[in-house]
Symmetry: C2
Subunit: 495 residues, 2 copies
């Protein structure tokens, strides 16, 4: 409990508890309680409804509209976790969370966040946390080696791939040497129209990055995909030539290794050739699938990436690290730095010549000590442990794909190169596209309403498509099998 | 310890520990150990050197260059915290950390991060975590009330004020209705040159935001300040008129409540009038000083902010919340949404019409459950507890300012409206500016080299200026008094 200190009292004898924070004893007691709470949550999360059966506004209605004037016991807040938060949460750590990309906040990673918060550093400069700056460098070196990416790439952790890709496009823009940093783009008569390229299946964050950077939606040309949802490299080459002829200045291509809808892999080697030919920045978004390259047998998914100017993959997606941890690499850190560095007097240090200050390589000045959680994860699992779990997820996805392929009532709608399966119900004789869409939407809603599993959807060639993404450590074959049975049951009900 | 599972084994009987994560027992054991570790760290951090006496490369040299192939015990990683990380860390949670803006990762906030990591949600959509979405709304409502800001403002949490201010400028740009979202800015002949305004003392993130958004450094005109480092409103008006006459299109003013160097407060009421007259977006950066407005006697620092279009303040600076937690508000959420929203098929939900999906209001798609830590902090301290601690920090700064003013050897170089004191050594008879700068740089280095306190610096009117910022819960009057004695001692050594 907090003892608010009178503002008029002098404070020369203040003790820890007198500072207004918890006492050490209370911290221990509440800390143990929350460790128990987390252990119990992780043990039982599989029994909870994955999607909470709450209506918009329910959480708000359970909370006081105004803040408490006086201190409350933290025990009351902990009790409210179970009363308000857990029942209204979507359980991403649930073994049957199969939506979007399924993720895991693993136990070593969770404990790493506790440590980071206790240190509470702002690693903007080397000087403001040598440990945070250098541990980030070391663990990103580890990850780079695990993925077989080139030596010497510079790495930095961002919160999300959205931000990492924005940084990549910003560096690409800066590499044009058009004085955009100094003079901006608006109202200049000496600038060409700028264009970047990505596939129709690229993540929305690429287009959002272009919007934010002032390149506009028209500054992104979306290249068609082949029958397996991979960027058509010939179409890319053609588009670039057309645009050059029409007066555009192409400057960047974003290839995807593991697209969001189907996890397709763009032909990076061919795209890299095209980039080289036209002097374009090549950014590779491997946010989800990059992690699979820690398997020797999957290493080839990164073929061609050695030519990339920048590359992003998210250990918070498929390497069991709690959000947020997005690993961004570039072979051209000087250009990245030119795009972002601004050093006011109050941030100059005597070490600036010999160190990297991470604030110079992105938008955010402040940065958390994110490296600790990833360090804990890699050490606690070991590379072999991480590999075996990703192999298992790939195996589970192959199993499910096999059941779908063998079923008369379902069909796969895309290849399954990783742990995400795209499919739909397609009972014999039902060929009307609209009715099939409505049927699948109904199946999805029925499955999700049971709370026993959560899947999300996409559209492929206009077809409403179910997506089942496997990525949680607690997901077992039994869970996948149960969900397959549930899908079949819900289809029967919907017919 | 991890038991890597063979990839060929079927997994229908996998137990928790068989998933490759820690067992529940191990999690409890390691969790308790880390709670004890954190308790001990927070108890003893005041005995550590604030700045670590390490050379660049030392941390890296202590770590294996390659990741471990096999699982290690997490106990080994915990031991390495004390062996490698703590000795090479800059201790922001130290009671004598007085650099930049001093902050606190308070105990309730630290425990909140543990909870957030255990849930490990991605709150991009309401559906993907109703609890995270609505708790964020509620606690930002609490903070809004604590600060006396207008009802009805929309709030969202970002990682840093850098990102929040970028969002503000992006919304201002979008409010121009110049089709910048659709068509971008490069190579268009129908756009005027765009300009925004901020003071010479604004934070570097404002200029960085303009660079990122493609407005360029020339798109930011820096307005001179008065003798107390506040934006000169008349000079602002004059600059806007000049720019309009010269063909620029002014679109945004960023005022600062609590500048980084001196914590000066721009005249927001007058600036708001100017913005209204010229139809400019008014963004207020109150990242540091905003927290002081929870005191009734300091509420007037936000005078005029009720007219702002957007506003940012950072509870991770002076409201005892671990980084990262930056609170961003806008009275024009529809424009903010127009600047950022992009909804691909796979992120559409049936609730979209009745809820706010937080991904629509910023750059990052993914978002952590940051609201929990702030919720824990406000409940555990109570508003009165937070107020009393901020009052105490203000009192300590006034005390120090008094000692400086009474000293023949030191002088203050700026008013002290909050908890940050700007001053320098200025012994009688020493009037040479260069020698004074060198002397103060030496004093600063000597103080910081002792490890007993850490101060940072700035330059004011060309003068090398020492900054002592008070903001940590563990900072007592005794610590401030000791640091004052240390400054005097180091000055004697330097003379």
């Amino acid at each position: 409990m907090i003892t608010p200190k009178s503002p008029t009292k002098t404070s020369s004898k203040v003790t820890t508890s007198g500072t207004g924070d918890l006492s050490t004893e209370e911290f221990r007691a509440m800390g143990y309680r929350l460790v128990d709470w987390a252990a119990n949550y992780l043990d039982t999360v599989g029994t909870l409804p994955v999607l909470p059966p709450v209506k918009p506004g329910w959480v708000r209605s359970q909370l006081p509209p105004a803040p408490p004037s006086e201190a409350e016991s933290l025990a009351d807040a902990i009790a409210d976790l179970d009363r308000i938060i857990t029942p209204a949460n979507t359980h991403w750590n649930h073994p049957a969370f199969f939506g979007y990309f399924s993720i895991t906040g693993s136990m070593p990673g969770i404990l790493g966040e506790l440590v980071a918060a206790a240190y509470n550093v702002n690693g903007m400069l080397w000087k403001t946390s040598p440990a945070a700056t250098e541990l980030e460098e070391v663990v990103l070196g580890w990850l780079r080696q695990m993925l077989g990416l080139p030596d010497g790439w510079f790495g930095i952790v961002h919160d999300t791939a959205s931000v990492a890709s924005l940084c990549a496009i910003a560096a690409a823009r800066e590499s044009l040497d058009l004085k955009i940093r100094e003079e901006g783009m608006a109202g200049r008569t000496d600038l060409p129209r700028l264009r970047m390229y990505t596939s129709e299946h690229a993540h929305s964050s690429i287009e959002k990055g272009a919007i934010v950077l002032g390149l506009g939606q028209q500054g992104v040309r979306k290249i068609p995909v082949d029958s397996e949802f991979r960027m058509d490299a010939e179409a890319l080459e053609k588009a670039i030539r057309e645009d050059i002829a029409a007066g555009w200045k192409p400057f960047c291509v974003c290839a995807t290794v593991g697209t969001t809808s189907t996890t397709s892999v763009d032909p990076v080697p061919a795209i890299a050739q095209i980039c080289k030919r036209h002097h374009l920045w090549l950014h590779v978004d491997a946010a989800y699938a990059g992690s699979a390259a820690i398997l020797p047998e999957k290493r080839d998914i990164l073929a061609g990436c050695e030519h990339a100017d920048s590359f992003v993959t998210n250990p918070h997606k498929w390497l069991f690290t709690p959000v947020d941890f997005s690993a961004f690499y570039t072979s051209k850190p000087d250009i990245l730095r030119r795009a972002f560095s601004l050093v006011p007097e109050y941030l100059r240090t005597s070490a600036d010549e010999e160190v990297k200050n991470l604030m110079d390589y992105g938008v955010s000045l402040g940065r958390r000590f994110r490296a600790i959680k990833f360090w804990f994860v890699v050490r606690a699992f070991g590379v072999q442990g991480l590999q075996s779990r990703i192999r298992e997820h790939l195996r589970l996805a192959r199993e499910l794909a096999g059941w779908i392929d063998a079923s008369p009532d379902f069909e796969r709608l895309a290849p399954t190169p990783f742990s995400t399966v795209c499919f739909r119900a397609h009972p014999h004789g039902l060929e009307d596209g609209k009715r099939l869409d409505a049927l699948n939407e109904e199946v999805l809603e029925k499955v999700n309403a049971t709370g026993r599993a959560f899947l999300s959807h996409t559209k492929l060639e206009g077809k409403f498509t179910l997506r089942l993404a496997i990525g949680n450590l607690r997901t077992t074959e039994e869970r996948v099998r149960e969900t397959w049975a549930l899908l079949n049951e819900c289809l029967k009900q919907a017919l």
